[in-house]
Each structure stands twice: as C-alpha cells, then as structure tokens.
C-alpha cells in the first residue's frame, strides 16, 4: 500500500514534465550537449590537450591543424585548451550568477506575494531596478566593485535579479488562490507545510524555465563585460576575454575570433532550446 502511494506521488508534475521533455528531440539533444559541456569543463585538466597557459613563442598564430585543432594564439597557446578551460569559468560564472539572482529575486518575489504589506515597497524597488537596462546595471556594479570573477558573478546576478522576483511573485500569487491549497488547508495542513509542500513546488516551474534561459543570458552578459575590458581580464581564459584579445588580431588571424564565439553561441543556443523545451514540458497548456 505504501509502495503504491509512493508510486502515485512520483507521477507528479515533475515526472509528467520529464516524460514530455523526453519526447522533445531538440530539447533532449540540447540537454545532452549541455551535460557534455559540463563534463568537459569538470574534466578540463584531463581533456585539454595542452596547458591553457603554456606559451610557445616558436608556434604563434598556427592555423587549425592536427596538433592544434583550433590553432594557437599570439603567444603560441593552444586555443582549444584555452576554450576548454574557459568553459570552466564561463559556465561557473553563468550558473552562480543565476543562482544569486534566483536566490535573491526568488526570495524577494515570494515575500512580496505572501506579505501584501511589503509587496508595494519591494515591487516599486524592482521597478526602479528595471528602469536601468541590465547590462548597464551590471557595468555600473562592476565599476563599483572592481574587476574579478567573483565581482562579475555578483554584478551579472544582481542586474538580472528583478526578473526572477517578478516571476516568482506572479506564480506564487496564482498558486496561492488555487483550490488544492485551500483543500490542503481544510484537511489541516499547517501554513509551513502548505508553503513548502504545495505552493513552492508548483510556483517553482516558471522560475526554473527562466533560470535555464537565464544561465545563457548570464554567460552572454559576463562575456560582454569581459569583452569590453570589465569583469574578467586576460590572461584568464574566459570566453569573452578570449574574444577581446582575438579582436586585436581580427584582420590577420581569424581562429582567435571564431572559436571562443562559437563556444558561447553553442551554450546559449543549447540553453535556449532546453529552456523552451522545459516551458513546453512544464506547462502543456502554453504550447500551441
């Protein structure tokens, strides 16, 4: 009996969503690509053919060949290895930045929805925040905090935080008034239990979709800032800073420009498809 109950419970929103997601071939490919990239990033020291910082001044500007599939840069460093090590930093920055945004924004949004007293104050504050385009906000924050990986994560995370607050608030508000919440209350569930077991899991879906799309955007913003010389600066091999170096040689040597950009695009494209797929899977009503 207990087993049967457990089985029924696992047939929840998430199990259903996973079942639908598995049918979406594009989204599953994107998921596989992302998992592969994360694996490569984790195993960078073993996967990368060279050290990312190994200069070889006799072999500068080598075009792609067998020894160097992506070629070498102005200091003879292997571009493939630099892109692989760069994935560590870029993926990390993207995920942690979104983590910050979800944590801060999600909490503020949820508080806003639960406590009407502070709702107005928090949401008006978000309005102010949103009046500044997020990339400019991130620039202002990096200007204030200074360069560096940690500051870049904070800047990108905080600048995208209001979106998460809005989404969380909206979804908690919709869920809060639904019948199953009332039902849970009427069979005697405590407030804490209602919030944690019933409201949050059901309000979390839109936040997850936004976070998936958000990691791509965060990677792009971080790369943009590094490209402009803020955030992560050379010689750290972040994708944006690789491009910023490559830009100086765009006329003479294309591999330094092509490959880091291709990496950014691959990740953002995969995350966009995955995010779209997740949205369709989590809310079948939305799909045409």
């Amino acid at each position: 009996m207990a087993e049967k109950l457990k089985k029924e419970r696992s047939n929840s929103l998430w199990a259903e969503a996973w079942r639908r997601l598995r049918k979406n071939r594009m989204a599953m490919t994107a998921l596989a690509v992302m998992l592969l990239l994360i694996l490569v990033a984790l195993l960078a020291p073993w996967v990368a053919p060279y050290d990312y910082d190994a200069n070889d001044l006799n072999n500068t500007f080598v075009y792609p060949c067998l020894a160097h599939p992506f070629g070498t840069d102005n200091l003879g460093r292997d571009i493939l290895s630099r892109v692989i090590y760069g994935s560590r930093i870029s993926l990390q920055v993207g995920m942690i930045a979104v983590g910050i945004a979800v944590l801060v924004g999600g909490t503020l949004g949820a508080v806003s929805a639960f406590y009407p007293k502070v709702d107005n104050i928090i949401m008006r504050f978000m309005d102010i925040f949103m009046a500044i385009p997020s990339l400019l906000m991130a620039m202002a924050i990096t200007a204030a905090l200074g360069n560096g990986t940690r500051n870049l994560m904070i800047a990108v995370g905080l600048s995208s935080m209001p979106q998460y607050a809005r989404i969380m608030r909206a979804s908690v508000l919709t869920v809060k008034d639904q019948e199953f919440v009332e039902a849970a209350g009427s069979i005697g569930a405590s407030n804490g239990r209602i919030i944690i077991r019933h409201i949050l899991p059901n309000a979390f879906a839109p936040l997850l979709v936004q976070a998936t799309l958000g990691v791509g955007n965060a990677i792009m913003s971080a790369a943009t800032l590094s490209f402009l010389g803020m955030g992560i600066t050379p010689p750290t091999p972040e994708w944006g800073s690789l491009l910023s170096t490559g830009r100086n040689f765009v006329r003479e040597f294309w591999p330094m420009t092509i490959f880091p950009g291709l990496a950014i695009m691959l990740v953002v494209y995969a995350l966009n498809i995955l995010g779209d797929g997740l949205r369709d899977a989590l809310d079948p009503k939305l799909k045409n």
């Binding site: 400019l136 924050i141 943009t224 490559g246 830009r247 695009m265």
Partner: protein, 324 residues
C-alpha cells in the same frame, strides 16, 4: 486617458529619483580616491584639494547626492566630467545623435525582419519555412552580438572589402554592419513574439467569420489577424528598447561610433565616474520615456484599452449620479 498619461508621467519622477540614488551610491562606494585616480599618484596635496573643491567631493555623501539631484532635476546639470572638465550633459548631448541613429536604424531593421518573418511563420505554421524561420530566429537570439559584429567585419570588410569596418562620417555604407549587428538579436525576439501572438489570434472565431464572408486572404492576415496580434508585439518592442540601448553600447565600441555607449565605456575604463553616472542615468531616462510612450500608444492601436478608461469614467459618473 489623459489622466492615465499624466499619472504615468508623474510616476516617472520617483523611478528616476531611485535610479539616480542607486547609481550615485554605486559610484560613491567605488574604491579609490577620485582625485588621486584623476591627477595621478604624483599629484601634490594642494592640487588634489583643489580638485576635490572644484567637484564638490569634500562634502559628505548625503550633501553630494542632494546637490546632484537638485542640479539634475532643476537645471538638467549632471556636473562636470572628471576627465575633460566639460559638463557631462554636453558630452552626452553631442554624442546622442549617433546613438539614436544607430538604435533607430537597428530597430527599423529588426521590426521589418521580425514582423514579416513572424507573420509568414505563423501563417505557414509547421511548414519548412516556419521551421527555418524559427530556427534562424533562435540562432539570432543566441549569437553574442559582439561576436556577430566581429564576424561581419571579418567577412565583409577584411575578406570581401565591401564596407568599412569602422563608421566613417559621411559614408553611409559604414553604418550597414553596426545596424545588422545590433538589429539581429532584437529581430529574433520580435519574430518569436509576432509568431506566437499571431498563432493565438489565428484560431479565433472571428477569423473564420472573416474568411467565411469571402474576405481576401491578405486582408484577413493583415487586417483581422495582425492588427489584433499587435499589442504583445508593441510591448516587446518597447521592452527591447532597453536591451537595444545596451547593445548600442557594445556596437559603438566595436565599430568605434562616437556615441553615448562609447563615452560610457571609456569613462568606466578611465574611472571618470561622474560621466558614468550621467550616461547611465541618461540612458535609463530614455528607456523609461520610450516605455511610457509605448504604453500610451496602446490605446491608439487598441480601442478596447481606450474604452476601459472611458468605461471607468462613465461608471464613476453613473455611480455619482446614483448616489446624488
């Protein structure tokens, strides 16, 4: 309606005040002594004191902030650039035309491409054309704009030598690459929005009615479907103006266009924080005004929205007479 517009206009004041306070505070807490950064380590204490005096940096935080807000809101004065000594407002206004030119060219391109492909995609849903268009749109959204810019330079100025890689005054074709670079991502977003908004409308009963009474297909698409699908599209265009301005910052740096964005990045790199503050506040104001205009534009496109305001008014009047 006018009441609504005035209300929105007044609401802009606290928003902009908040923007000024947030950005001013960020710039204030920036590490390092401004006078030392601007004048160099070798500057004498006297010259530093004179610098601080000139820019009012000796005052406590709250006084500086108060002065800034007072000067900005009553005199439209953003103080002087630490770097050039010129008023920040002048520096921005001389560069504004270039930024606006870039942003509007890119927006026009994005709207034309996005709306046309979006309509085609929705009308021919699930065909090859639709699949290609949605795929390309997602591609456009996922492409880092600065990378696209570099690729375009690589292809069309370095290899093919068709257009200049930097914007040259008086040479119109030098604006082609920046426009494409900036417009692509927004075009992708507008296309996706147009498609989904059109798909919502296409299944409505009144569309079937329009066809049943023998309307021409093109009239059905443009007049019955597209007009009703416009609201979300306009919204997304308004919202995208912010990211367009952010993208312009990037584009101006890649194609060395002398606009506000280039000024902003130079100011950040040279730690000229008064200029940074001015540029960010200026762009945020521009975005807020555009969003306000878009909101007001709604009622001209959609009579239903106008009638809700009228409805409220009439209802109130009726209630008033009933009470009286």
């Amino acid at each position: 309606m006018i009441k609504y517009a005035v209300k929105r206009l007044l609401w802009m004041i606290p928003i902009l005040l908040g923007v000024v306070i947030i950005v001013f505070t960020l710039m204030y807490v920036t590490p390092g002594d401004t006078a030392t950064i601007m004048l160099g380590d070798s500057a004498t204490p006297e010259s530093k004191a004179a610098f601080n005096e000139e820019y009012g940096l000796n005052e406590p935080y709250i006084v500086q902030l108060g002065n800034y807000i007072k000067n900005l809101f009553f005199h439209l004065d953003m103080g002087k650039s630490y770097r050039t000594g010129q008023p920040v407002m002048d520096e921005i206004l001389t560069r504004l035309p270039n930024t606006l030119k870039l942003a509007s060219l890119a927006m026009v391109l994005a709207v034309i491409i996005g709306v046309v492909t979006g309509i085609i995609s929705a009308v021919k849903q699930y065909t090859l054309a639709d699949n290609i268009a949605t795929g390309v749109a997602l591609f456009g959204v996922s492409m880092p704009p600065f990378w696209l810019g570099l690729l375009l330079i690589l292809a069309f100025s370095v290899k093919l030598d068709m257009v200049p890689s930097v914007v040259v005054k008086g040479q119109w074709n030098s604006w082609i690459l920046p426009t494409i670079t900036l417009g692509t991502a927004v075009a992708g977003i507008i296309m996706r929005m147009t498609r989904s908004s059109m798909l919502d409308v296409i299944r409505q009963d009144y569309i079937r009615t329009a066809r049943a009474k023998g309307q021409k297909e093109i009239t059905v698409i443009l007049k019955h479907e597209f007009r009703n699908a416009l609201i979300p599209i306009i919204t997304v265009i308004g919202v995208q103006f912010g990211s367009l301005m952010a993208g312009a910052v990037l584009c101006e740096n890649i194609f060395s266009i002398n606009g506000i964005g280039k000024f902003l990045v130079e100011s950040i790199n040279k730690k000229d924080f008064n200029s940074v503050l001015g540029a960010v506040v200026f762009i945020a104001t521009l975005c807020t005004v555009i969003n306000l205009l878009v909101d007001i534009l709604y009622s001209f496109i959609d009579p239903r929205i106008k009638s809700t305001y009228k409805g409220k008014k009439q209802k109130k009047q009726k209630e008033g007479t009933a009470n009286g």
